[in-house]
Symmetry: C2
Amino acid sequence: MKKLLFLAFAAMMAVGASAQELANFGRGQQIVSPEIKGDSVTFRLNANYATVVNLYGNWMANYTDVVPLKKGANGIWEVTIAAPEPEIYTYNFIVDGVNVNDPVNYMVQRDGTRYLNMLFVPGERSANYNETAHRGTVSYKWYDSSILGSNRRLTVYTPYGYETSKKSYPVLYLLHGGGGDEEAWSSMGRAAQIMDNLIEQGKAVPMIVVMPNGNPGQQAANTMGLPVKNIDTRAPENANLYVKSLVNEIIPFIEKEYRAIPKKASRAISGLSMGGAHTFAATTLFPNTFDYILPLSAGTRESEQLDAQLQGIKKAGYKLYWIGCGTADFTYEGNQILDRALTRNGMEHTFFESTGGHEWKNWRLYLNTFAQLLFK
Amino acid sequence: MKKLLFLAFAAMMAVGASAQELANFGRGQQIVSPEIKGDSVTFRLNANYATVVNLYGNWMANYTDVVPLKKGANGIWEVTIAAPEPEIYTYNFIVDGVNVNDPVNYMVQRDGTRYLNMLFVPGERSANYNETAHRGTVSYKWYDSSILGSNRRLTVYTPYGYETSKKSYPVLYLLHGGGGDEEAWSSMGRAAQIMDNLIEQGKAVPMIVVMPNGNPGQQAANTMGLPVKNIDTRAPENANLYVKSLVNEIIPFIEKEYRAIPKKASRAISGLSMGGAHTFAATTLFPNTFDYILPLSAGTRESEQLDAQLQGIKKAGYKLYWIGCGTADFTYEGNQILDRALTRNGMEHTFFESTGGHEWKNWRLYLNTFAQLLFK
């Protein structure tokens, strides 16, 4: 590896290549990784000087399930495994104990501060995660929050044709979980691709999707390097601070800056994990704001106020209450509690159960499913 | 490292944490890296099991200038060096011969397919690379190119207040170099931060900045995983294919979708390296399109057509011809050729020379400098 580095740099110096051309480093040998053929997938790594190379992918049940690669005569390490079911996964190599990315795989997702290679297994379930012909716009915008005392970044998806149509659109507020930020849904969640596909297929109505940053101390994803306020995100009053900013600041901002229909019937809110808790808090605190309520992998606890909170929503009226959770999710029980509480309060709702746990695989599936039900 | 991984994963499993919470991996020990104090900077890495840890930063003259870290009793490797002059740099660690990122540094830049940690040394020169109070919007949009036969992604910066003002704006078309893509200027180039600062300070007029993808075979950055056409980017006719798409497709698209002033006096074009060649080609092929012409680190060669090409621009008229190049840049001679050719053709122009070579440090400086001269 070291020698390879030296050779690569020597070559660069020789042609006077620039820092930006470092991109080509490590691609001297034309290897392909990952390579999907039929039902199998092959991973390769050019690492002649390594002693042990392992593969870890998030489709493996446990971290200890790492798969060893075998070194070929050409110094290329390789392993072929059965492809996991169609979906998007992340993986990395472990070279002599150090986690490294696959240098020939361009597709990378950021998970918090970790940049992980993607494995995209095509199939019916993952078809809507591909780019389609008519693609909407993803924008990074800033809004001023006096509630949180900072200028804060949010991601906005506008559907194909938004700029030149004269129409107004309904809005889905789509919230991330703990450890995530305003880029989580558009990166790991494939939100833009899913919406593009559903809208193009006529399965979802054209809508704006707003993906804010749910960490009250942050102005933006930590990768932007901006100062972070020390706000304890576990303290209930701070969770509500963000939810108050969402309803009292973000919604008016969006309805001013975009052609968004400023009506309850044209607003949906969904979020995963912490974002599901934000969804619950926003709809119980502000029952007259959203007609579509979709907490994912969050659930709730039994509490003295629970029935009163749900009655508030029932009284205000709503069009859809949709819960999504995997049966192996650690929040599954909390989702059952919410399901039962909605039933005993006489509130129509859907409990969409999938296999699997607390993972993006499920959150993509939920968005791909519930977006078809909104604003109809 | 391996043991650390196991511990981190064990802890995760114990609390039932999700993939998204992997973000917190490796931060068990509260170490800070990089840490700037006065004129020095300290790098740290928690890698108890490593044998050799080196640091490479792009402020070092040669790759062989790597700096060794020393292991402390706590298993934390550390080195303190003199901070390079105020600017943004990239660095990585080399752990037992394998390149790895600094796991506690959130700030990362993508250079092609490489994700490199950033070192931001504050000072007068880098002050405009920070976020300021009034922040514009960065959008990723798609336009249809029949010339290149694909739907293609571009990045658009709109200044603070664009959405609610009724004004129309001039447009800077800002092109990347070889190995780059439509995200290069907004990521490594800090284009949004530089424009926000200059506009807020009243030093630049509010403008739209359009950053297209200059690789004709690509629909978008390779990280999006879209199919790539096999178009030889070195073949002159293909360079012109892109330039034709820029002038005949991108400009009309922008002037339809945005409140852009559709006039020569309100269009500027700049690009670095390959993007400088695109700037030269676009302005010689379409001399009636841009009043502001700013090739960076590109230059030209003496050729039979050179004088005729420049005379075409002179005849059409222009407001600013501005060349930027570092004296250590391998394209420096080509810039001197262009400088002399402009002089002998009686064309007013600026040759802005800096120290340094073919590097982002210079391209950020050039944008920060020339943006103050546009549309005035």
